[in-house]
Amino acid sequence: MTKNYETEAPGYTMTTVMEEAARCLLCHDAPCSQMCPAHTDPGKFIRSVRFRNLKGAAETVRENNAMGAICARVCPTEKYCELACSRTGIDKPIDIGGIQRFVTDFEQQSEMDILKKGEANGKSIAIVGSGPAGLQTATTMLERGYAVDIYEKSEKAGGYLTYGIPEYRLPADIVDYEIKRIINLGAKIHYNVTIGKDMMMDELKANNDAVIVAVGASEAKVLPMFEGNQYVESAVDFLARVKEANGNIKDLPTSAIVIGGGDVAMDVATTLKRLNVEHVTDVTYEQFDEFRASKKELEGTQRVGVTIVDGYVPDSIEGNAVTFKARNMDSKLTIKAEKVILAIGQQVNADNLGINIEHGVVPYAGYKTDDPKVFVTGDIAQGDQTVVWAVRKGKEVADLIDSELMGVQNND
């Protein structure tokens, strides 16, 4: 029943990955590498694959990106590395994500241990939140010799990697393996601890040289008209529930309305379909030509048979009948379904963390806060809100803190 939900698309074999790598033009000053937010250096690792040095390829990915196996699967590559690919001048970009997945799968199968803990420098840092940003920050700090404690309010680490992105796109095994690697490197993760509630910032500050807040946008946004409606559930709650139960949830409807036009909405709609919910309609504010969801995701959603109605906003709800209004026409539309799932965005809960959040991010660029000991990173820092940007922000905040605490400049 849940096979559809659990099964990731097959990856390359040695033969097919060489065919794809052979398409790569091995560009001078590789544009793909310049466009990777986390500097994972695809130009270099594809070259290593091409010259049959898979272990070297794995080193390049891993040393630049602690979430390498995850990024390989979930990066919106068409906005980043593949957007810049010179091969597009001939036909279509190199499947950089696919090659990266092959490389990191190889890394896992051959049990390579690439990351090395730095010599202890006697300093310690605390990280609030174990999403990709917190995990990358931890990795870089451990490599530099810091002691790292991570505080996580949930039962498991990973943030949206664990509780958001569906299994068929990102298997839990992969996420667990990446996290285990970081635990093996020396990160201590304290689960079920909400900072600001179970433990206070002052305590973290007193016991550490720096505190990094990486709490992400972990709560759903709701519109007033939907509050308290028994048919309505938020996208992130629904996805977390499905992922935790590995697809085996009991109260599946036979029809559902999904409201929202981003990747999260696509994930919800596709997940419903993969769980065999017969009628799934996604209603989006955006029209197709202004879509926010990545092309890959949108296509995946359409392929599984989700009906998409674009350019409509919710107007009212009565029981389980939602009425939408067209944005650019004088037209209304009422759809009734057993379940309504809201994917209109996530918001930050920074209660008692002493951090000012406006529109989901801190109101300044960079990672410093008013408190010299406290830093922010991940989705709550300015920049794109994607996993690869979380990695970039994790590396950058670690560099910044390292140079402040040790007085050295690291620019890798």
């Binding site: 074999t13 040695m14 033969t15 060489m18 052979a22 091995l26 001078h28 070259r47 290593s48 010259f51 049959r52 040095n53 272990k55 070297g56 080193e59 040393e63």
Partner: protein, 423 residues
């Protein structure tokens, strides 16, 4: 990133790693060699320096490539001779390289037309502070028959010129051999007799790569005509490996120090040359195609290979495969091994069927309904052509049987190998 000691000692000289640019346009001048050193090469064999009186006059265009399906540069044909820069410039560059890169190895490649030339050139490059000399006895497209492979195929001349070089210099010296010869051993022995301490091989293989079908001229077309000239790159690797193996097992040449050349592009190629007895490795064509940066993966991959093999020094690997390559008459011919077809992996293309029928022994039967092949052991000779053509690696080695009337246990026969494309 993995760190392993790749250093080797060759003819008494210490190399930080075995990867050298071979003598060719890839190391024509100071700037090129400096960039190559910066990118990690252990040394260079500087573009062959000739005597002042020999005027180099090159053609244009001067290259061609052999392709197969979508793959460029399967092999590479060139019509170049020796250095176009002046003798003074070249000597100056050698000296400056050694001054600015004291830990890198600078080898001077030289070529004369007579004993006096060889002796003088040897003297000049020694004064320029080169670490070692390589004698180019092997360029197949010189405009003078007193130079290049016409000399290298004549053991008497080889010995005489080696002795001349030794008179001009006490630097360690290797003779670079041509593959355009049936048996390299007499020429190699002659060079050692003349004073060479080691052998570099191979230079390029005489060739015609392609013909323009309308103009009926070989490529490249030089004002309507073309010439036979040297072939290099991946396609010549098997030829190079064969010569190196033959040298290393020839009576009196065991432990011969060899600088291996010919089609090296990956760490796997490099490891193959090392296992057959090369201590240093020289590269041109793949650098011309991809640039100096290829050395990164060759070095890194070789380090991982050493780690996998549990060795700390390359010297532990050098020549360790020589003993497993024996004359054809010494091979075990008492058994055969049948292919095993994995129907789950098989995608039903039928290529094994076609190749076995048209190119082997009609031993694969084809079920047109299920599109699955089976092996008819009454006809199969165990050649494993099917294994090589299968696009998905569905065919491996299966049951081993003794031929009728032969003694021995078939199960003990070792035939398995993980094909490079399918690991």
């Amino acid at each position: 990133m993995i760190k392993k000691d790749l250093s080797v000692d060759f003819l008494g000289v210490h190399f930080e790693n075995p990867f050298l640019l071979s003598s060719s346009p890839v190391d024509n001048c100071y700037e090129m060699c400096a960039k190559a050193f910066d990118e990690g090469w252990g040394g260079v064999v500087f573009k062959t320096i000739g005597p002042k009186h020999f005027v180099v006059d090159e053609v244009s265009p001067r290259f061609d490539e052999l392709t197969k399906e979508g793959t460029p540069f399967v092999g590479f044909k060139n019509m170049e001779q020796i250095a176009e820069h002046s003798l003074e410039e070249n000597l100056h560059d050698l000296k400056q390289l050694k001054e600015n890169y004291p830990n890198k190895i600078v080898i001077a490649s030289i070529m004369g037309t007579n004993e006096q030339d060889w002796e003088e050139l040897a003297q000049l490059v020694t004064e320029a502070k080169a670490d070692m000399i390589e004698m180019n006895l092997s360029c197949p497209q010189m405009t003078s028959h007193e130079m290049g492979s016409d000399v290298g195929t004549n053991p008497e001349l080889v010995k005489k010129y080696c002795a001349a070089v030794k008179r001009g210099s006490d630097l360690p010296m290797m003779a670079k051999m041509t593959p355009n010869i049936t048996d390299m051993i007499p020429a190699a022995k002659a060079s050692l007799a003349g004073g060479a301490e080691g052998i570099a091989t191979i230079n390029t293989v005489k060739s015609i790569s392609n013909i323009d079908l309308d103009k009926r001229v070989a490529l490249p077309i030089v004002n309507g005509k073309s010439s036979i000239s040297g072939f290099s790159g991946k396609a010549v690797k098997p030829i190079a490996l064969r010569f190196i193996q033959q040298l290393r097992v020839a009576a009196g040449l065991e432990q011969l120090p060899i600088s291996g050349i010919g089609g090296i592009e990956t760490w796997q190629d490099a490891a193959e040359f090392i296992l057959l007895g090369a201590t240093t490795l020289q590269v041109t064509t793949s650098v011309m195609q991809y640039g100096y940066r290829i050395v990164e993966d060759m070095k890194n991959g070789l380090m991982h290979y050493m780690e996998d093999q549990g060795v700390d020094h390359l010297s532990e690997l050098i020549g360790s495969a020589n003993k497993n390559i024996v004359p054809a008459e010494d091979l075990d011919r008492d058994y055969k091994v049948y292919p095993k077809i994995d129907w789950d992996k098989c995608i039903g293309c039928g290529r094994c069927y076609v190749s076995c029928f048209d190119g082997a022994h009609q031993a694969i039967t084809w079920d047109p309904k299920t599109r699955r092949p089976s092996v008819d052991t009454s006809k199969c000779v165990g050649c494993h052509l099917c294994n090589l053509v299968c696009p998905v690696g569905a065919i491996t080695t299966g049951e081993k049987v003794m031929k009728p009337g032969r003694k021995g246990n078939a199960e003990d026969k070792q035939v398995e190998s993980v094909r490079l494309t399918h690991f």
